[in-house]
Amino acid sequence: MLRAVDVGQVASRVAQRPTGRMQDASDEELVALIGGGDRRAYHVLVERHGRRVLGLARRMTRNLAEAEDISQDAFLRVWQKAAEWQPRGARFTTWLYRVVVNLCIDRRRKPSFAPIEAAGDPADSRPDAEQTLVAVERDRHVKAALDALPERQRAALVLSYYEGLSNVEAAGALELSVSALESLLVRARRALRQELQGRGVETATKEEP
């Protein structure tokens, strides 16, 4: 009953906006509507965050097929748990990223998991592709080095560096304090640098600023 009143209020608020479009609703409003079983709100949310969720899962797993499975699981959880979700000052995306990261970590712990993209792209043997080959080789090492990081360190790096989350958001997604996130990031970057140096990849700029 309480939820029905909330959903009605949210639906009314969204409809009364100048555009009256579902696409203009905030994430939190969409989640409230989804909690009431609104499929249109669900589709808007999937369209809004689908690419980013796929990107995060792909960076975490380095396997597009796995990333697609994980993204589906994550959004199905949104559908199933929307009615239970309580913002408590947190953004919806923080919760969504937490779900994705946890699913990725769970998936990678399974023995059958294999990051098929780890093999890298096939080498291009054309003479004019030497520069491309160098870049491809370096990317291969970077991917392997990222893959060698402990799960939580990689998650922190992906959220902070690639996904552009603020330290507060990334800490929320990993259920850490900001200072703990910062320590994790320092360890991640240090470990990554050592791993790359072990593979002969230069990780410090040569010129002084």
Partner: protein, 177 residues
């Protein structure tokens, strides 16, 4: 809560810590410390002591170098993958999303005594040789009763049988005190 912007002079150790954690790009630095960190970086580069300059230069070289390596790694998500995801989620499961914990807690509070009563009555019924319809029993002692239907899966029954107002339990007749 977002911390307020730090205006005090930042020690160089904090700046090097920020570089080690977040990299060389200020846009990734903690928002509330960004201005102070940028100010300190500029001051040291312009007029810092040789020791400060060396310390900052080393931290910047490492941070910038790793950023450069990381930035080269492309992870474009193919449009086809996004389309597949959207299509796969076009028809979420038919059942309604679960009710909120607030409502669940209300049901919990309302039904719990009755469920205990039902279990007691069921046990009494067995002792007295009375017939008890299993559809009215809470079975595993859960906090709500589940109405068994011929065409519903156990999961559906669990969701659909969850009464928000306790009518299901009351309709069972036997369980109502």
């Amino acid at each position: 809560m977002t911390p307020s912007t730090t205006t005090a002079v930042m020690p160089i150790e904090r700046l090097t810590q920020i570089l080690a954690a977040y990299g060389a790009s200020p846009q990734r630095w903690p928002e509330h410390e960004r201005a102070a960190a940028e100010s300190l970086r500029a001051r040291i580069l312009a007029a810092g002591s040789p020791q400060e300059r060396a310390m900052l230069a080393e931290a910047l070289r490492e941070a910038d170098g790793l950023d450069d390596v990381l930035s080269g790694l492309s992870a474009e998500v193919p449009d086809a993958a996004v389309a597949r995801l959207t299509a796969a989620l076009a028809f979420p499961p038919a059942h309604a999303p679960k009710r909120s914990w607030t409502v669940f807690g209300l049901v919990h509070a309302v039904l719990r005594p009755s469920a205990a009563f039902a279990a007691t009555m069921a046990a009494l019924g067995i002792v007295l040789g009375l017939s008890v319809d299993p559809a009215y029993s809470s079975g595993d002692g859960s906090d709500y009763t589940v109405a068994q239907t011929a065409d519903a899966s156990p999961a559906d029954a669990l969701l659909d049988g969850l009464s928000l107002d306790g009518n299901d339990l009351n309709s069972n007749g036997d369980a109502a005190p």
